[in-house]
Amino acid sequence: MSGWLSLLLAVFCAIGLASLGLGDHPLPLREVWLALIPGQGATPEAEMVVLDLRLPRLLAAGLGGAALAVSGALVQAVLRNPLADPGLLGINSGAALVVIALMVLAGPGVLALLPVAGFAGALLSVVLVWALAWQGGASPLRLVLVGLALAAMTGAMASVLTTFAPINAAQRALIWLAGSLHDIDRPRLQLMALWLALPLGLSLALARHADALNLGETTARALGQRVEVTRAALILIAALLAGATVAITGPIGFVGLIAPHLARHIAGPLHARMLPVAALIGACLVAAADLAGRLVFAPVQIPAGLVTALIGGPFFFWLIWSRRHARS
């Protein structure tokens, strides 16, 4: 177990070093290293590129990936479906709609409000989905169906907003919608870290409640769990994680689906072991996607959200295919 954690950490560091060195302005590994340690006499230029441009971006990718992975794992626990992800409950699209509305209607200079908007949108979606699906309890199936309908609706509303927006705002919104990390700077990174620290910690603290929920509603209740309270708490944390991430990076798909899936293969279904692995896999995935998006068609940058979708889609098909063949 801890072997896997160290391995994943090493992979993230390797991706990180590559991300810090490679790009429009390539730096040798030694130069990157000097820039990372203060007072080692790196050139001011290298220091600027590494510390002000690439490092915040790398850390935001890692943090965002981890948050999306954990958010996905929690949604999967609540819906008791390993193929679910935050998008299914309208979390991503709700966050996206409110963020776009803020971008289009309020213009630039609302940075600090973005995570608030993302979380508000995510929360609003979740509450709406919950309320509409409620029938003396919220069954996973009804939640998914209502969530899908709401996601389609909010997605359409976001498109309408961008259509009528002034061209600059619309362009910003569209780039953001593709899930790009290119304008991450230190203040944005700090904002993100501030918003994600608490829910990431809480998700680990509540791991065993998610485990009990995973045994099914009847068993969980027989074990003394107040199932609706647990579901609501876990979804709230999932919304906070996905909402705050989406607000800063734009929607980055498939990570919330793939990372928990791989983590379960590695660490088994118990959340205390699985969540840290999922978080590290998510971090590696988004960091690698961002790196690939920067390098493959340079100087054109492909947003990380598009890369995860391009790689994640086929990967997902493969997962389903291999599961089917493993069973038969």
């Binding site: 390993p82 009990a212 995973n214 009847t218 027989a222 074990l223 003394g224 118990l270």
Partner: protein
């Protein structure tokens, strides 16, 4: 320890409904302490519903369920789960969960919000593992076990809960006969040696009569017979409950009552009646 003459669980004039549909009305039932009680009856007679209500998983529309002399209504779900263990009919576990990890879930009601497993928790899990004879399989994933081993693992999870009362909904239904006997014997041991109160919904009357000390026969949400097997395993009662004519003889091995179906009325076997009905309709 409450006095032995207070029943472990009792239902007083209870009405149970699914939505608007009543499953049982005015039901009064007592579960004797330290005994193995079997709920029997035809499909749809409300056995499982009654069991869920006894477990506190379903609130009666009227009447009261009591644990000892305390109404269930007044207990929090956590304190209830420390005193009553319940195993649903076909419980499901996430893929890849090991036997040991499943059993640890049984400690859920004994831990507070952020508390870790204590030595006491680990000891309870070890006892449950040993009682069910699963020591050698602890690390195996649940989905790699046979049906009987898996059922024992689930029972071990409920045992780790360390409750005096265990309620099991059809614990033998999906098992082959060897595993059925294994689970029945385990339940009997829990009562005999562990001093537990066990209530199970069961289908095989002869098997039930061998192991259970107390039987409750339900039909359409009403109790039509309760008592020791010698009283409940009665041709007239079985006819009333299941609509089957039978004779009851002593079980050649244990001497407990054993039923055997009579040929269908008119001397035809079931198959002949069916064939006759078919030829008439063609």
């Amino acid at each position: 320890m409450p006095a032995a003459d207070i029943p472990a669980l009792s239902a007083l004039n209870v009405t149970l409904t699914y939505g608007a549909k009543p499953v049982a009305e005015g039901l009064t039932l007592t579960i004797p302490r330290g005994r193995f009680t079997a709920l029997i009856g035809p499909n749809g007679s409300g056995k499982s519903t009654v069991l869920r209500a006894l477990a506190g998983l379903m609130r009666p529309a009227a009447g009261e369920i009591r644990l000892g002399d305390t109404p269930l209504r007044g207990l929090s779900s956590r304190s209830l789960a420390r005193r009553i263990g319940f195993l649903p009919q076909s419980p499901t576990a996430p893929e890849g969960l090991s036997v040991a990890d499943l059993i640890r879930q049984g400690r859920y009601p004994h831990r507070s919000l952020f508390e870790r497993m204590t030595a006491g928790d680990e000891a309870a899990c070890a006892r449950a593992l040993q009682l069910t004879g699963l020591e050698g399989l602890a690390r195996r994933p649940l989905d790699s076990l046979s049906g009987g081993q898996r059922q024992r693992a689930w029972i071990a999870m409920v045992l780790a809960q360390e409750t005096d009362i265990l309620l099991l909904d059809e614990p033998t239904t999906w098992l082959d006969i060897a595993h059925q006997i294994e689970v029945m014997a385990l339940m009997e041991t829990l009562v005999r040696q562990g001093g537990k109160t066990v209530v199970a919904v069961l289908h095989d009357l002869n098997q039930t009569a061998r192991y259970a000390g107390h039987m409750v026969m339900l039909k359409a949400g009403r109790i039509i017979a309760e008592g020791p097997p010698a009283r409940v395993m009665d041709p007239a009662l079985i006819r009333a409950g299941f609509g089957v004519d039978c004779i009851v003889t002593p079980d050649p091995v244990t001497g407990t009552p054993m039923w055997s179906a009579q040929p269908w009325p008119g001397g035809n076997s079931a198959a002949e009646t069916g064939a006759a009905a078919l030829s008439r309709s063609c």
